[in-house]
């Protein structure tokens, strides 16, 4: 997918990996719509992209809200035209500090599923039809190694990300032959506010910069051979030379 001719929507875009992805895609010429709950940091993120010469639009919304699919799709389509790319990046850890499942409430698990899983589902549902009729589209699901490895205390988050991986795979199966690609990507451990909330004593120097990871994910979006539909890709395994070429870290 040639990013210079792409209208992209990124959720969870006010900080961390989401913001870095919005910046990376805008740098490569995509028109980007940034979605997050809080309007002020979101507008600041969009303004920073515009100041750097990019085309960015802020769309404050909670992806867990019942009618968020039609509202986000409608607003984004009004702002930039038909969406070609959606990056499902918004996510919540569940209870913080992290707790074992035995101490996680129903409401905490439900909230994690509502944001991390159902939020991605409802936005895809609202935009995928126009992708299919045009024969062009990419759906990126930002996963986690917690989706694969069952670490104690990561329950709500891990369950939601495992389901998100499978959501990406089922979309891929259903969209076979339509020109629309769906894949999941594990970004690896990054120096973000979310990581600090989950593991407060981690050494930030040992973690990846979000911008470096965003550059690799941009490669996956540009080059379907690196992330075919239905695949689950670890960003750390994306060819380094390609990642460095696009990275700014």
């Amino acid at each position: 997918m040639e990013l210079s001719k792409t209208n992209a929507l990124i959720t969870g875009a006010s900080r961390g990996l989401g913001r870095a992805l919005a910046e990376a895609l805008a740098e490569r010429g995509a028109r980007v719509v940034l979605v997050a709950r809080e309007a002020a940091p979101l507008e600041a993120a969009a303004e920073a992209i515009r100041a750097a010469g990019g085309d960015a639009h802020a769309l404050p919304a909670d992806v867990a809200a019942a009618d968020a699919g039609a509202r986000i799709a409608g607003t984004a389509h009004a702002m930039v035209g038909s969406l070609d790319l959606v990056v499902h990046n918004a996510s919540t850890l569940g209870p913080v500090p992290l707790r074992p499942l035995s101490e996680t409430s129903d409401a905490e698990l439900e909230r994690a599923l509502a944001v991390n899983l159902v939020g991605a589902f409802r936005i895809t549902r609202a935009v995928v039809g126009q992708m299919v009729t045009r024969g062009r589209g990419t759906l990126v699901h930002v996963s986690s190694d917690a989706a694969v490895e069952p670490h104690p205390t990561w329950g709500a988050y891990a369950v939601s990300k495992a389901a998100l991986d499978h959501l990406a795979a089922v979309w891929a199966a259903e969209l076979r032959g339509t020109g629309v690609r769906s894949f999941a990507v594990d970004p690896g451990e990054m120096d973000t506010a979310m990581h600090a909330a989950a593991i407060p004593d981690a050494d930030p120097a040992a973690l990846e910069r979000p911008a470096a990871v965003a550059a690799r994910i941009a490669r996956l979006i540009e080059d379907p051979s690196l992330a075919p539909s239905g695949a689950r890709v670890e960003a750390a395994r994306v060819p380094a030379a390609e990642a460095v070429a696009g990275g700014r870290a």
Partner: protein, 343 residues
Amino acid sequence: MRGAAHLPAAAEPRSPDAQRLLHVDLVERRLTHHAFDALASLARPGDAWVLNDAATLPASLAGTVGERSVELRLAGRRASGRWRAILFGEGSWRDDTDARPPPPALAPGDGIDLGAGLSAVVTAVDARAARLLEVRFEPAGDAFWRALYALGRPIQYRYLRRALTLGELQTAFAARPWAVELPSAGRPLTAARVAALRAAGAEVHTLTHAAGPSATGDATLDARLPLPERYELSEATARAVGDALDAGRRVVAVGTSVTRALEGAVRRHGRLRPGVDETDLRIGPTTERRVVDALLTGAHDPSSSHHALLRAFAPAELLRRALGESRRRGYLAHELGDSWFLA
């Protein structure tokens, strides 16, 4: 004709699985009943099907003019970025629009406060219908779209039991929000059904047509419906439909809005010129179709303006039989009911 074959409206949107399809055969003058999933079996290889991909706007805004409560309904965006809009007096979607109090008389420069920092400023008032306004919104740009989607509600249908959500009033392939009411003929076309049409050898293309309001609360203004509507024809769709015409393949419009856009375009420009334009074409019994051969549409009551458009496809006698058959078989009418395929 009314009363002779009056179709009941859906109280709940007909679910895709339960949707029915009456094939009105325009050549054999024959009627056959189908489950909607049989649509692909009525498609022909080489058909060029055209869908309206306009998403439905949250087009109803509650506001105040001085002390008075009003409802401002978007009717369509103009090339200038200003909007046609219709002002209603106080009331809710449960009330018959014709029975609501008349709106306050406004003049250019007057403002309508829509809350949360959004306002509409009147830029023109229609000479014949005082409630038909042209307005500009403050703020404009992205801030307007955010405010519209935060404050606006979709226009509702009085015949339904409950108000529908914005999501329920979208087609499966909705893209840019240009329509103020659901382009309803495409509602039964789920992604799987679009895929089935393609698997049957039909081409499926899209255009965007800003379907306008179906009711204005003013009989003289209702008589002018549809108002001029904006549409965009992409280069790909213009070429594909043009190729189908040249090759004598069938062009199938999904909905009256698609029919209006294609027939309007060819009348204004002599051909299907790609780009954005407005059409004021009114299609009726005497309209000679130059592009569209077949039409998928909702089953519509003879009292509706949609019905007049059907006369461009089928003689009154055939439509009368179709209505009678639909009534006997329990078809549901209007935007959220069953379908007719005139082909």
